[in-house]
């Protein structure tokens, strides 16, 4: 079976999704979701270890050798992203049980899990595939289910934010399709590795450059790079808690991965940096995103929205690493993909616990929760410290590489800006912490600690935050290896 892992990686959650509709009971659907997501996690870990030991795995779907058929192509880079997505998936699935029963009507619960599994398999499919059009198909699977998941939020603004996301997402997807079409028109191929071979021959054509531009805009819409982020804050704020935790930790990460994959593997680092000057375009955008969005986050009163803006800022960090155009910078990007998933997952899950008990994530609703819900708020503090980048947490590790990358390029003002932005993170996290620990509790006297079914996935993520903050050697090693793969390009 081992040789079929690439296919199973996507097919297991994808098959589990329709099965959710056959079981009428929400718990059974949940069981399926947990089973499928943990299987996916196991597969992704095995894929990663196989790729690390024996190199790229190519899997021809339908038995048709690429570029005739569709190829799944796993290298260190996407094996790494697969692990990120499936880790979060495997932790959000058990978390969802309790949370969903509170936030979503009983009739929709099997549908919720079906959409959740579809979203997961869509994201995994985008990540694993080696075919550019297949990317689009799976992108739409994940996006459509994401729109529906977000619309499940209790507030009616969930609907409008889902609609805005749908518009932004469809525009992004259509731009990507246009870009793919232009590439296809110049090469006649849809296979990534094949394109990477063919494109250098037509680098000079304006068509390829425009295709590049369209893909860039499309991806940046999907990954919410400033100033194309407007859909994100509301979507994250009003979605149900497990959905926010899942989307915030995976969807934008996969979009960043796509960007890296297209620009560095398909087009090649040389084309991106030397011909298109990608670094010089992204650097200012990323810096503005990091600083301005951190600033905006400081003034939010809804904690989920605060974290959403912080996500936009953190995406800026990832793009910043890319814009250094060095292996160290990319290492920082790839590390932060993983690390940010861990910390934002933990933070949004903690907010889910608060939502469960208090019914609100307004900052005033946090008052005194440090005593009422000590485990929840401790998880929030730990995740928050990681976001700030305190040593021994993963946040520090990514920051370390980011600054190292900036200093290697001699861009010390960039390094200073990054550090100042992390102080801003301290400010917005600390606002919440102060309210939670220094204000008197004013809410319902019945308020207790969140149930353990919500707490253990939250704390599992916190533990990973700390574990990989100390044992960063492994993650940093993989990220560095992946960065080198990306920088050298395919087949060289």
């Amino acid at each position: 079976m081992a040789e079929h892992y690439p296919a199973l990686q996507v097919v297991v959650p994808l098959l589990a999704a329709p099965l959710c509709l056959f079981v009428r009971n929400g718990r059974a659907a949940w069981g399926l979701a947990v089973l499928a997501s943990w299987t996916a996690l196991g597969i992704s870990l095995m894929l990663l270890s196989r790729v690390m030991s024996s190199g790229v795995i190519s899997y021809a779907l339908g038995g048709w050798a690429p570029p005739i058929g569709i190829e799944y192509r796993v290298d260190v880079v996407n094996a790494w992203v697969l692990v990120i997505v499936s880790t979060i998936g495997a932790l959000v699935a058990p978390y969802a049980l309790t949370s969903v029963e509170r936030e979503i009507g009983a009739r929709r619960i099997p549908l919720f899990y079906a959409a959740y599994l579809l979203c997961l398999s869509g994201l995994l499919g985008i990540t694993i595939t080696g075919d550019v059009f297949n990317v689009f198909v799976f992108l739409e699977i994940s996006s459509l289910s994401a729109y529906a998941l977000i619309a499940l939020g209790q507030d009616r603004r969930a609907l409008t934010s889902a609609f805005r996301y749908l518009v932004a997402g469809s525009v992004g997807a259509t731009f990507i399709v246009i870009g793919i079409g232009l590439l296809y028109s110049m090469t006649g191929s849809l296979n990534m590795a094949d394109l990477a071979q063919l494109l250098p021959g037509v680098w000079e054509s304006r068509t390829v450059k425009v295709a590049y531009g369209f893909l860039a805009v499309g991806f940046c819409l999907k990954l919410a790079l400033f100033p194309l982020h407007l859909w994100l804050p509301n979507a994250y704020t009003y979605a149900p808690s497990p959905v926010t935790a899942f989307m915030a930790s995976t969807a934008t990460k996969v979009a960043v991965y796509m960007l890296l994959r297209f620009f560095l593997t398909v087009f090649g680092a040389a084309f991106s940096f030397d011909v298109m000057a990608l670094d010089r375009v992204l650097l200012p955008l990323a810096l503005v995103a990091v600083v301005s969005m951190s600033l905006v986050a400081i003034f939010q009163v809804n904690v989920k929205r605060l974290l959403a803006y912080s996500s936009v800022a953190q995406i800026g960090y990832m793009i910043l690493g890319l814009s250094f155009a060095t292996v160290t910078g990319l290492t920082a990007t790839l590390l932060h993909l993983f690390n940010h998933a861990l910390m934002k997952g933990a933070l949004f899950m903690a907010m889910g616990c608060v939502m469960y008990r208090v019914g609100s994530v307004h900052i005033d609703a946090m008052a005194g929760l440090g005593r009422r819900m000590p485990a929840t708020m401790a998880a929030f503090v730990a995740g928050g410290l990681s976001l700030v980048g305190v040593p021994l947490t993963v946040g520090f590790v990514s920051k370390w590489y980011l600054i190292l990358g900036a200093l290697e390029r001699g861009w010390w003002p960039v390094a200073v800006l990054v550090l100042i932005a992390s102080l801003m993170a301290l400010v917005y996290i600390w606002r919440v912490v102060e309210v939670a620990y220094f204000r008197e509790f004013t809410g319902d006297q019945q308020t207790r600690e969140a149930p353990w079914t919500l707490l253990w996935p939250t704390w599992a993520l916190v533990a990973l935050n700390l574990y990989f903050g100390i044992a960063a050697e492994r993650t940093a090693g993989i990220a560095r290896q992946a960065a080198e793969v990306l920088m050298t390009g395919i087949g060289q």
Binding site: L14, L15, P18, C20, L21, F22, L61, G62, G63
Partner: protein, 144 residues
């Protein structure tokens, strides 16, 4: 509209033909334009037509919502299931050659495979279109 006898009879007469046409489109997809997707759409359209004429409840008595919903899911299971079967037979995912292991005539396996997956597409598309139609049409009464 219910009183319009011509429409009712017309619809009743047309519907089987549309369904026939859908099946033709499906099974003739190998030789001419068409296939599971188009057939599914047409099939769903036939029932939509009946629903418009006879009312949603009537059609839902024949094709209950849970049934079409099940179809939507079943089609995906069929399609993905074919892949799993080929995998279990030792070939790659969706490598239809596995279905009729005949090295001289690989196209046999391909025929079976294409037939099956097109069936999956048909079932899903029909189920989805009908479900979506039911939901939009069924909501009419509740809109304020």
């Amino acid at each position: 509209m219910r009183e319009e006898i011509i429409v009712r009879v017309g619809a009743k007469v047309l519907a089987p033909f549309i369904i026939m046409f859908a099946l033709y489109v499906h099974f003739h997809g190998d030789y001419s334009p068409g296939g599971g997707f188009q057939a599914g759409v047409i099939l769903a359209a036939a029932f939509a037509l009946l629903a418009l004429v006879y009312g949603l409840e009537e059609v839902q008595r024949v094709l209950p919502p849970w049934f079409v919903r099940g179809c939507a899911a079943l089609g995906v299971v069929i399609f993905a299931g074919v892949g799993v079967v080929t995998m279990l037979l030792g070939h790659n995912y969706l490598a239809y050659n596995a279905l009729a292991p005949d090295p001289t005539h690989p196209e046999h396996g391909q025929h079976y495979g294409i037939l099956l997956v097109e069936l999956g597409v048909l079932v899903t598309v029909f189920g989805v279109m009908a479900t979506v139609f039911y939901l939009f049409a069924g909501r009419k009464g509740q809109a304020s």
